[in-house]
Symmetry: C3
Subunit: 347 residues, 3 copies
């Protein structure tokens, strides 16, 4: 038997299967610096130990998306090396803050399987849990992905498509955020609080960031995400796109960093309700973003922060002053990401 | 009112205005590593805790320019998002060493305003102070920048052009440098001390470094500098240069790293007397540098170090064996930076 | 005398000469993060403090190759600025683990000299020792390099070509590895132990990684390796290759990271018997790798780990499913690296 692997195919998964993913990862101030260099986030809580301590954290926590990407990266060798497409995320909750020095690992359960009618591919649903060194859960989420079959003639598994919530109940949010106090709005970069945002309000995040090959490769390797489509020009030059595809999570992080201009006090992502990578992103493209406030909710038992449900839309080579989203029944062709999440903001 | 901003225009500034800049920033060993990877400095004091401790620091301090860039970066969203040109720096003093774990923030005061005769732009002078977590000043400097007006018809403010010194008095230098001792010249890479440098002496720094888009973008984001001209190819392709412009501070850091070859013991920048970005730098260009000793001064009350006043000139695509500077009344077209500063060197 | 240097030429070296290299370097979690971002290694011991502690390390040690590159980098300004070719390495032993916070420095001895018959170049052999802050040796190795003469008429030195071992004796290996225990194979990513590998077995590491200019430049600067051929497009555009040459050590690190797929439990490089950079690598090329098990050896007095002698071959733009190596008497033109080393693996 070969010592190396080309990854799992659709027929290698079974319902209820538990996958303990490899390579536990201690996160450090080095990861934080590199993440800052790659995306340029300016949220005060994650940038400053002094600011974080003043409001109630023991020190600056890691950016929520950096935690997500590291946990996600661990699942790639087992789940999506033979993916045709990442179809979606749902029910992603951030349950504990993560600090430099913590060690993250990941375990997934296969919660759904559905062969496609062409018998060449199938959809795999996994619920993944990100764990801290003490076994506590920092993150959980569901992801579904279309995976190639090794053989068209392999029998189809029993079909199960899991029921997934459209959005997380705000009553379940906020576990990763301490009771906050003494929040300095000037130092944070905006005077706008939770109550200043209205449902339906749209915000253009104004700026654009062009992505380079070196940048997305460094980011994906930092997460130990080894999906070949991000790294192997020799193979991808002959593939579907003719070039390397940028990890979808890269777009999420860019959009989040851009969203500081308009959402500077949305300091913590409490949950991701769903995300769709509408179109691929390639090096040389410039990413823009805008957001809409979908809902707002107080959190039971606390009056320090409220939760804004936000839709953040990212585009490529298309400024967002007019909030591009649809074109007829389809997405506007410039749209690359449609993300729905709950962010916490001081009241 | 829009939650996002396109930045301040000339008519938004007023004399005496105090701006508390956003996003305090804890600097870490991660920032140091990334700075090393981006510029390759080899000065022993900033590279080695052991070397720094042997000469009197508690541990290796951050590179002075890394501190400068982080403080500078904080001012960009408030001061220069609508800049046409960065015109100059003056009176920059490094007043305290900064170590990993320190948190930096920045406050600026508008100390000068002058509308240009075309009424489309004006010059804004700010004095910026970089602060440590305890409120102490680590850095101060004056910068002036030409900023667009939102409207040509906006009334001109009272004109005030501040008086600025040509150079800092050496009697005011050295606060960020402890009394040093036991300096190992072999380990530092050069036997040349303060007294070995003669006024008028010119030094070719020999090497050249080609800059990539990913590198300057990562650097500027590390400083949380969000000036769009560095990042947004979509917009800049239609702009003045047809491409992304590299942050001027990137050139200063490259020139400083190159200057190690000839100035290995000039371990600390005590002050920047003035700096001029003579020409723009773009990705693909190769940066070279040379220096001239403008003056030398002992520091009152201490015999451990002396101050060399240096002019470091950077060029693009032009080696510096013949010390290019002028061509007739103008700068040589290859010159991109003309920097005047005081560096400390062991006696 | 000029304060800057263009580096040593062949006639500047003498047998028995001791060179204390400049710039001691404190390694940090920042260096580790950047190394992870640049190469994507997934070995559990170096990724996780928790995993490393569970098996007997005080915390996660630095990747062995990161230590090698930093020590190597220090020798470049003194040994190889005027190198025509890096000819080989031998007798490289890793003698102590290195942790964030340690300070590394390097000393070399010239142990061989041989002028070439064209009198334009000569071969310099150096034995280099990497030291920790307490003076202990973390690494030693021999390297030989072809260096230009300043003048063809300079007299040739007495010729001495040192005897070098083909491979290190396994009885001398393992000093940098504590007695290990409680190794979690699932978390490490593979069930394959020392005894599962057979001499003569070949492993295709499957994946490919395309290299960007920014990546290899950042890596080489991180090691403070200032060899101009890696950085100076202006000069190299007119040179032998017409472009920047990638540091040979970059290929070793890429091949090592790729080798995780098939050698996930080969967690520590105990020694490098020899290495040959068969062909140059340039940005835009995609690197693949395969390995062959050359030998296996138990380590005297310990039953926790065994040593595998591995040959890892890297190619460019050539997948390795058929293990490319030779073509007639020569290397296959796609081969860029032929590396022979001892790796430790749990028994």
């Amino acid at each position: 038997m070969s010592k190396s692997t080309v990854g799992n195919f659709f027929e290698d998964f079974s319902l209820g299967q538990i996958i303990k993913h490899a390579t536990p990862r201690t996160v450090t101030a080095g990861d934080v610096a590199l993440y800052t260099g790659l995306f340029g986030p300016r949220f005060a809580v994650q940038s400053s130990d002094a600011f974080a301590q003043a409001i109630g954290y023991p020190r600056a926590p890691l950016d929520d998306l950096l935690v997500f990407h590291i946990v996600f990266g661990k699942t790639v060798p087992d789940v999506s090396l033979n993916a045709v497409a990442n179809l979606g995320y749902a029910a992603c909750r951030f349950l504990r803050p993560v600090y430099p020095g913590d060690t993250l690992s990941a375990v997934s359960e296969v919660i759904g399987l559905k062969e496609n009618s062409n018998r060449k591919t199938g959809i795999v649903y996994v619920r993944t849990i990100g764990l801290q060194q003490d076994g506590g859960t920092v993150l959980d989420y569901v992801r579904w992905v279309m995976v190639r079959k090794r053989s068209e003639t392999a029998p189809a598994p029993a079909e199960l498509v899991p029921a997934l919530p459209d959005a997380l109940d705000p009553a379940t949010l906020g576990h990763a955020c301490p009771l906050i106090d003494a929040y300095d709005f000037a130092l944070a970069g905006s005077a706008h609080r939770f109550a200043d945002y209205a449902v339906g309000e749209k915000i253009d995040h104004v700026d654009g960031i062009t992505v380079e090959e070196a940048e997305h490769q460094i980011a994906s390797r930092l997460y130990q995400n080894n999906a070949r489509i991000h790294f192997n020009l020799f193979a991808e030059a002959k593939g579907r796109f003719g070039r390397r595809l940028i990890y979808g999570g890269h777009v999420i992080s860019l959009a989040r960093a851009l969203s500081f201009n308009g959402l500077a006090n949305a300091f913590h992502i409490a949950a991701i309700n769903g995300g769709r990578h509408v179109s691929p992103l390639f090096a040389g493209d410039t990413v823009f973003a805008w957001s809409e406030v979908l809902a707002g909710s107080e959190l039971s038992g606390r009056d320090d922060v409220g939760a804004l449900r936000l839709r953040t839309v990212a585009t490529k080579d298309r400024p967002c002053a007019d909030f591009p989203l649809r074109q007829g029944d389809d997405y506007d062709p410039a749209v690359i990401l449609d993300l729905d999440y709950w962010a916490l903001m001081p009241r």
